[in-house]
Amino acid sequence: MRLLLVLAVGLPLLGQVSHERILKSAAEPGNWLTYSGNYSGHRFSALDQITDQNVARLKPVWSYQVNSLQKFESTPLVVDGVMYLSEAPSNVTALDTRTGRPLWKYRRVLPDDVRVCCGMVNRGVAVLGDLVYIGTVDAHLVALDAKTGSVRWDTAVADYKAGYSVTVAPLAVKDKIVVGMAGGEYGVRGFLDAYDARTGKRAWRFWTIPGPGEPGHQSWKGDTWKTGSATTWVTGAYDPESNLIYWGTGNPGPDWNGEQRGGDNLYSDCLLAVDADSGKLKWYFQFTPHDVHDWDATEVPILVDGEVRGKKRKMVVFANRNAFYYVLDRTSGEFLAGKAYAKQTWAKGLDDSGRPVLLEGTSPSLAGTKVWPSVSGSNNWYSPSYSPLTGLLYVATRESGSIYFLGEAEYKEGEQFNGGGFRSIPGEEEYGAIRALHPATGAVAWEYKLFTPPWAGVLSTAGNLVFGATNEGQAFALQASTGKPLWRFQAGGTARANPVSYTSDGKQYVAMAIGTALYVFGLE
């Protein structure tokens, strides 16, 4: 009895996810505490029970079907035997990792006039303390009790009727929940927010488009900054040493008609480094100035240390939708290196500052302009992975082009504001590949070709494996050091999510949303 009491006193620590625990996530690889597994955006699991030697025996252990035909883009989190899984449109289910049985469900009642460009989706939750956080397509941030799913607070982030929504997995940092927004096809004005984790009160907001008088404001013509988008719909990274949050921003609006908005359109298509406490901008780097192809820089930034041209550097690396790979100094934002990692026909290359040198005749037109990469880019929102063991960065790469059209764009609140469109290139033999890049240079170590350009991210593990999945429904594992295919499973639907790994009862599992179900794989 006394022993039980002692255990019970010790228990509140379990299930309580402190900032310290997320910081030291490497110390507890059996849990998956934050979107990318750690603050550095690595999506790497230190678990090594499933290896390149035994992965051929990997089998589905349980699956969980969602009651939605929306795209299932969720990364689950796992805390001490409980999986927190978001489901489209803005729901959360807590699952018992031993059996796959639901422990509680949060089902949000949504208004019937929500505006989202590309699906009523959600990419995952954050956990901090004893709360679970979800952003909603009606642009709220909601804190749920991790034990019951009941709502602790519910804060409106923005007005959904103006085209704002939240699909991104929030990021818990210290005592705050950092959350971005979507709506880049509705002429919104972008921002990155942080909320007090206990109360839901907004702690800071960084507008991703500078207002009058602020630096960068001149990069917009007239009033176009008010409808310039620059959204923040993919989860960023955090560096405790500099206390900086790294977060990518989306396309300028209207997407394909750049005439009226002039200028570079800051801070669209940028990587932002903002102070975690104040939300103040430390530096920015713009990948695609005055973008007219919808190449959001909403990819996951990866923090990695290494040597660039003989000098030790703290880097942030970025495989951009625009087909270029970038190496930046993460303290200063200085451009260190960059090169194309996929087919592109819009730039001669990057200049010494990392700015693209544009080719003529690549803007959208009434008759259509053929350009690589496609509107979906060479990479997209789904996650890359960095393995500290192989020292390689794994990117699910898309080899495809688009025909880009110019159209009118007249802003009306809550309506699509695109200024054009796109279509696939007739007869193009598009394909995909998992590419392993040397992080400091972007040089390709190996590639494994996929039949079509993928929509699913990758996970690398200490078992010398890279997990991913295809449009045609297969989950697969490659040898991380060589790219050799070692395992696959036909799950029966297009994968549009990222894998994670965790332990339950001490055994390693790999989980991934594919089609409209979450699959959990383990060794027999």
Binding site: C118, G119, L366, E410, P426, K449
Partner: protein, 254 residues
Amino acid sequence: MIWWAALIFFQQPQAMDMTTATANPYTSGADVEQGKKLYGGRCAGCHGPAGDGGKGANLAVAVLPRGGSDRELYRVIRYGLAETEMPSSLMPEREIWQVAAFVRTLGRLQGEAASGDAKRGEALVSGKGGCLRCHAIGIAGGRMGPSLSDVGARRSPAYLRGKLADPAGDVPELFRMVELKTQSGTSVSGVRLSEDTWSIQVKDFADRIHSFWKQELAELKVERRTPMPSYRTRLNADEMTDVVAYLVGLRGGQ
């Protein structure tokens, strides 16, 4: 249609439809003119500059099978048709209506009359032409090529004439001929049913379905071409006109 055809059109918008109009609110001369420009860039590639079809359906018809009402036509342009090559569009509401307004004018244009003798055409299709060896019409015919049961609703006479003369000129986006050899030396050729990174499924010319892991294959050739022969010399000009007249009359179930 191959089931994953829809995949090539990234991110079909699933947003709720903001338009509430049931009748096209943009039908002025200027709207039609703007719609024509938009159509020229985005639609003409498949539907033809005059809308009389090509890879895409024939739009120069009095009644559009998938766009009878303005609302239906709007939805087809906005959301596309799942598992066909018709993509969705992100054009703003007004531009969609303008394109729809222009498309309506196509149906009022004088389409090419099919002047041949449909009865003779029917005999040629099942007889000398040998079309039913590969194509189905209703309950009759083969399975190798696409069904012709409603081809008249989808294709204009000019398109059908061109296709008969030069089948290779417009092979469907995802249609592939396969020739392969297994490691044990068996050869199979046919039409691709499905393919992914690791496997391929093929229907051979005797309608047998084969499935292979690619790693089992010694040779694999997947080509975008058609086994359909050209009828430029197989049929004389009158016969061609008769065949087209018959095909144009094929309108599906009714």
